[in-house]
Symmetry: C2
Subunit: 420 residues, 2 copies
């Protein structure tokens, strides 16, 4: 039946659409249909653009199939194909250049074959800039039950319906190929903390053997992302043992990957061990490949890692604590639910993003107490803005030659006062 003329314009786009105005460039909408796909980058590459004269900090440019990433960079986490509470257009607006998807979650639900059918993660979620996917190993470790690690892979019961499943290096690569991420992570074993040296050494040896199997699968299958080649990053393990970190880094570099992550950090170890894990790995990683510290960290930790030569970060913290009422500010975390904010007309932060700056602390506190979802959105947006500005500030200061001053003055102020 033809639509009667009286409905003309019924569901039409109003002219003043704001969120929508970037669609021509972001290419929103596999399903919507009418937008040209982003032309893929012809080749992937990483270049170091500036280096700090005092620390190991550097700025760089990573060209990926779905776009260019300026480093150091923070990657918002979109576990289940959505950065929690936010619209992809908002993530873009925040200046995010790459987001992370979790292989374990997406494999379980809705399933990688369905996502492949929908055009991969880019088509499925409408996010048209780069995606990085993890290997699923960390979530098997942290979420699944009755794990059993064998040479073949990890047997476990998933956390959704308790089904018995097996994740192997090859399957992890296959799932990530179906997801079509720009960067796929190798399947590794992430040992717990504390972990004795014998276990850490055995685990590391397994991680290296799995890395070889991942590489073999990739060589045989040549996975793509958009119109380009999917990149693969190895993961340095070795727990708190310097010689094992060195060994892991050397073995992975010998196999040869597009980038290198430091894994097994932020698993409960003290902060100085976390920094040592980075320090013990970085010297053995090639200067001309990106380095990624997985799952980190607080704003000061991120600056400390950048000073130690790390280029890429991801962390659920900004969005997770936002949903519990914590906002990041230059003066440290602010707990918006506290009574002290009840009648405070000031914005959350002296120069917050305009989407958030208009709202008083009093209103934000009210939204949290009333259980309004807008509260979760506003603080998630604010915290990602904070993290992305933190990374952008690091980039700018490395280029300008004053990164140590940026880092030290940020940390001094951030840790000086106790925000409420």
């Amino acid at each position: 039946m033809k639509t009667p003329p009286v409905w003309k314009g019924f569901c039409q786009t109003p002219d003043h659409s704001a969120l929508g105005r970037d669609r021509s460039t972001t290419g929103f909408g596999l399903a919507g249909g009418n937008f040209p796909p982003i032309p893929p980058a012809l080749s992937v590459s990483f270049s170091v653009l500036s280096t700090d004269s005092v620390s190991s900090a550097r700025s760089g440019r990573l060209v990926l199939p779905h776009g260019t990433v300026e480093t150091p960079i923070f990657m918002p986490v979109g576990t289940q194909g959505s950065v929690k509470t936010l619209h992809p257009a908002e993530i873009e607006e925040l200046g995010a250049q790459i987001i992370l998807g979790n292989t374990y979650h997406l494999w379980l639900r809705p399933g990688h074959e369905l996502i492949r059918e929908m055009g991969g993660l880019h088509g499925f979620t409408t996010w048209q800039k780069p995606f990085l996917t993890d290997s699923g190993g960390f979530q098997v470790w942290s979420l699944a039950k009755l794990r059993k690690i064998t040479e073949e892979g990890v047997k476990f019961q998933n956390h959704l319906d308790g089904s018995k499943m097996l994740l192997t290096p090859e399957l992890s690569m296959e799932i990530q190929a179906a997801l079509g991420s720009d960067i796929a992570m190798l399947f590794d074993e992430c040992p717990p903390y504390p972990c004795d040296e014998v276990y850490a050494a055995k685990s590391l040896a397994l991680t290296t053997r799995w890395a070889r199997r991942c590489k073999d699968w990739v060589s045989a299958n040549e996975p793509r992302s958009g119109g380009g080649r999917q990149l693969h990053f190895g993961i340095v393990q070795g727990s708190i043992y310097a010689d094992l970190r060195e060994q892991s880094a050397r073995e992975l570099v010998e196999l040869g990957f597009d980038g290198y992550a430091i894994g097994g950090v932020s698993v409960g170890e003290p902060e100085h061990e976390m920094f040592r894990a980075i320090e013990n790995a970085v010297p053995f990683l090639p200067l001309d490949k990106p380095r990624y510290a997985m799952g980190l960290g607080t704003p000061p930790q991120i600056l400390e890692m950048i000073a130690r030569g790390v280029d890429m970060f991801d962390c659920v913290m900004p969005t997770r604590v936002a949903r519990h009422g914590v906002a990041f500010t230059l003066d440290g975390p602010l707990h918006i639910k506290n009574l002290i904010h009840a009648r405070d007309p000031r914005p959350i932060c002296e120069s917050a993003h305009p989407h958030v700056a208009g709202f008083s602390r009093a209103y934000l506190r009210h939204l949290f107490r009333a259980g309004e979802i807008l509260a979760l959105r506003l603080l998630s947006f604010h915290n990602l803005h904070f993290y992305l500005r933190l990374a952008a500030g690091a980039r700018e200061s490395i280029t300008a030659g004053n990164f140590p001053e940026y880092k030290d003055s940020f940390i001094r102020r951030y840790t000086r006062s106790e925000n409420t």
Copy 2:
């Protein structure tokens, strides 16, 4: 301490802010500070612009202190000072001209004195277009416990902490004056359904006496909204009894208010009784005052009410059912969680708003199953867009002289097929 220069730009506004670009006109940010207040309308008025030759439908213009409202209009509900899941800039972008706040909720939390301190509802929420507030009576009836109705007012225990409270006509007016809404509703008793005629008559008499007390309070206190005079709407009661509806309308009109609502509808009565309640009241209401049917309804019901001469509507349905996975479409409600949508690459609606049109049904279903808040946002946004377009279509067709065709063809298609 002065902000060190290295932080310049740390939290600064990116140039590509989209949601923020309307701030100069919406005046976002009491707290943010830097935006000029909207100049208040000099006087409030209502004009009928066109009338349908077949039905009682009419289009009109209601000038309020915070802006002009074109009728027929649907008013999104912002119960606790937030239209659930949405940002005020999105509500504006959807073309909403006026939103509703609930006096009962806001009185209990955060309290009307706090809101007054923050610049009223407009300052507190940052929504700069008109607000209508209800009287609180309906929520006392539907949410509170141990209600006792006396001549003085209603004693009850609130639903948050069980405190004993008393709401009177004068207090309802005082709270609404503190909230600074453009339109305040009179405090009425909303009898339940079914309700015998004796009770309905007594209740109605009480509602009229309360209306007089409200009017006295208003005359004595002259409440303001922004730079203008707050409007006050009476509420016609009388349950399903034609003579009582007539009596109620005549008594209120004699007292004289800025507009008239039909209350006591959508309280469990059959649909034909709801239409009769409107039909029994409208003939006794002045042609030159706006008419408002409270808490209604489905899309076909709204068109039927417009045909019966109603100008204004509010309903939680679009946002409430959205949070349960129901999207309104021209072919009726669509239940996005159903399995049939699992691999459906089509958008939810043939011509949805661009914020939503890019997403496949498969992705939306996934977001719901995964418990992602983005799902609630997208369907809330979509459903409000649908309702606001429904009202806009009615306005346009009344002006164009083809409202009956618009109504009938919409309802025919909407009710023909069973969407899934």
